[in-house]
Symmetry: C2
Subunit: 464 residues, 2 copies
């Protein structure tokens, strides 16, 4: 509980309509994209960096926990206030501050929805490539805090690859500006990349300077069907070795395909091991066309039993409809699902999927595997019924086994969702004691009172 | 001076032939690519990570300064032992530990020469793109420590973009392994990127896991001649907006061109404002040819008075001969030269060059400007005579003025050479007190005794 005096200070900073404390308001800020739920003591919505700074000064002085929050679409519980305190909602800070077409960069506030940012830069012929599935209901601040990815990472990289500079309010309220519009910069330690992926535990990201690229004008898509999983996986490297760098190589295993067909009847081939959906893009139509044809040849030579090249925009949309239907189909089949986010060396994908299928059998739970095969990032999704404690127990065991597989095969716990609270129990599988010790020491540098998003990312205890 | 007991410990770890203490040996380790010279107290050359760890345990216990060193090709004094102590020479650690063609990654020891690494991966059809000019006489460890760049960064990025994981010996001798072969990874704070560009001040990098790409098989080159500097600069963005991403866009101003012609008579056009050398590469010959033709058209449309497209490999080599002759020509004209490394927002290049020309006139010193126009990284090179104290004074003033220009135009002190000792006096122009304070706190986490490469990168004082 926050005292009336402190709430009054918040009101003085952001205005009374931007400080929420009624139970019904707090409930709306108690959850994210997971089933984790904890109420904050207050929701404070600042309008600019200076207001964030003043709110943080109060919280630092009083030792109040602060959980930064954008659209709360996170899949690891990162924006849920597990220790109460202030839910610092940044969605009012959604302005484009500077769109610099000459240097191809844009400076935005952290609370802008990523799809809105994309639309604005595309209107002047530029392009912001990272495209997490949540792109229409997640903010760039959250994307930076989790180093969001998406389907286009194979060619275009992740959020980190586009962050040129950040404005960050530190735990004590001081404002850090780091990075410039100079593309190459080795002047400072890389402070910027410490914040990217730190899930709100090191500072409040309030403004982001992003690199843009010219918008690719043409895209072509192919769907390849595989009787053997290995061949789908081998195709990825064969495509790259053929000198073509697709924007996306998405994989769906047989369970995923069957789930989609069961609910949506899209006409996808069943009784196959896997499907790859591969898309190339670029600014020269002839080159793009040639590349998709090369890809078709490589897929066949790598063991695809069928390859469909989209010849029209409608055919292209049809191919993508299957991939886009994965989550809705899983949700319909459910009743509940836990979608994991393991990241693997690319070559380990077939073995990982084989082992996940064994886990599915062992625990008697349906596990659909799909994801970004091009960069080794899979989303094994466990279907279960949360009303059945016994199923929940099996789901939890299966989940732990999947993390173990990722580590055994040289991978890690999360490619793009973050650790949040959900993966915290598994962190020591992936990180050494030295890494965790260094993280704790760095955390202490940035947040000596431990008020920033406590209980997230890694086990942290305040030093005395 | 190090005691006989300590030297004996080093000998026990690395063998007597790998501990040097004679004055003539120490002199050979007292300098790098600059005119900064300080002798170490001993040179110790370990053979593997474990020996580095044991050497560091001794140095940590005794509070002995350690300066890691590869080929000492640095241009900022970073490998010079300004406080004496141990010069830790890593050139014996030059093995390729694992070349993984399936995942397209290579793990190497830090002391491998970058060109040797490139040759080995190219022999299996893979490619390591970063190509600092020092590529034949610098090590990958040094490249990581300085976040080296080169001419191909526009398309392919810098060293940082290829580092997937590091093995680092911490100041107390503990061994940190961080990163995996999983391309996407948001499990830990980004420890890896803290070491990239830290210039040996946070730990001893002993092994590096690098991402590779398929080797592009075809390259085509064009040289465009400009009567107006602005037009050369505008061309860069126009090329990118035309949807072509060249591997390199190199710029030489009229002073650079005249210097080359004066000494080498290559037949370059004089009486022009600037030349751009633009190269495209890829795995499809037709596409590459088409791209260079598009570039030729864009150059002409952007104000080039002449564009030469290399039709053969010999013609291509001829075009590059001019660019490669810049440094030898400047050295011949000299007698001494200071080559800076400012990095700017791309659009600021014409204004930067104009202001640098005014500085050249103000101080009566020849300043040649060339560099990587595509990513805004320029190397203004001041010619002077170090035997003339008055010229040295003017050179120093001109140098400071150039740094001020970089900062005023939104750029920074270094794009790829690092800060070392040479740029230390200018650091506060580029970084805020908060940034420097955070760097100091991070340094204290990794190197509490301040023994790692002291006096480099930023002003650091040991906390008591």
């Amino acid at each position: 509980m926050l005292s009336a005096e402190i709430l009054k200070e918040f009101v003085q900073i952001v205005g009374s309509e931007h400080v929420l404390t009624s139970p019904e308001d707090l409930i709306a800020y108690s959850y994210d994209g997971t089933s984790v739920e904890y109420c904050p003591d207050a929701v404070v919505s600042p309008f600019n960096t200076e207001q964030v700074s003043r709110v943080m000064q109060v919280c630092y002085r009083e030792g109040i926990c602060v959980v930064p929050r954008g659209m709360a679409s996170g899949l690891a519980g990162g924006a849920v206030p597990v220790s109460g305190g202030v839910s610092l909602c940044l969605t009012r800070m959604n302005r484009v501050l500077n769109l610099d077409t000459e240097n191809m960069m844009v400076r935005v506030e952290a609370g802008i929805i990523t799809a809105d940012l994309q639309a604005q830069v595309e209107s002047v012929g530029l392009f912001y490539p990272p495209d997490p599935s949540s792109v229409r209901h997640s903010t760039i601040g959250g994307n930076v805090a989790c180093n969001a990815g998406g389907a286009r990472c194979l060619k275009y990289g992740v959020t980190r690859d586009y962050v040129m500079g950040l404005t960050v309010v530190l735990s004590d309220g001081r404002i850090l500006q780091t990075g410039t519009k100079a593309i190459k910069n080795v002047t400072s330690y890389d402070l910027k990349n410490l914040f990217v992926g730190s899930e709100g535990t090191l500072g409040i990201i309030t403004e982001v300077l992003l690199k843009l690229i010219p918008k690719p004008e043409f895209a072509r898509t192919a769907m390849a069907v595989y009787p053997l999983l290995e061949n789908a996986s081998v195709t990825v490297n064969n495509v790259l070795r053929a000198g073509v760098l697709p924007a996306t190589i998405e994989l769906m295993d047989n369970t995923t395909i069957e789930t989609i067909e069961e609910y949506l009847h899209l006409g996808l081939p069943t009784n196959v091991a896997a499907i790859l959906i591969i898309e190339v893009d670029g600014s020269d139509e002839e080159t793009v066309t040639k590349q998709i044809e090369t890809i078709g040849q490589v897929c066949r030579a790598s063991g695809a039993s069928d390859v469909r090249l989209a010849k029209t925009e409608t055919e292209r949309a049809d191919l993508w409809r299957g991939r886009r239907s994965v989550l809705p189909s899983l949700v319909r089949r459910g009743p509940d699902q836990l979608s994991e986010d393991i990241s693997l060396p690319r070559a380990a994908i077939p073995e990982a999927i084989r082992r996940i299928k064994a886990i599915s059998e062992k625990y008697g739970l349906t596990i659909a595997v799909f994801g970004h095969a091009g960069d080794g990032n899979l989303h094994p999704s466990i279907l279960y019924d949360k009303r059945d404690p016994e199923q929940v127990r099996r789901m939890e065991q299966a989940s732990r086994d999947i993390f173990n597989i990722a580590i055994e095969l040289g991978g890690t716990l999360s490619g793009e969702h973050g650790i949040g609270v959900l993966k915290l129990p598994f962190l020591r599988l992936a990180l050494s004691p030295i890494e965790i010790e260094l993280m704790q020491a760095i955390k202490h540098v940035f947040d000596p009172k431990g008020i920033l998003n406590p209980g997230k990312k890694f086990p942290y205890h305040i030093k005395n």
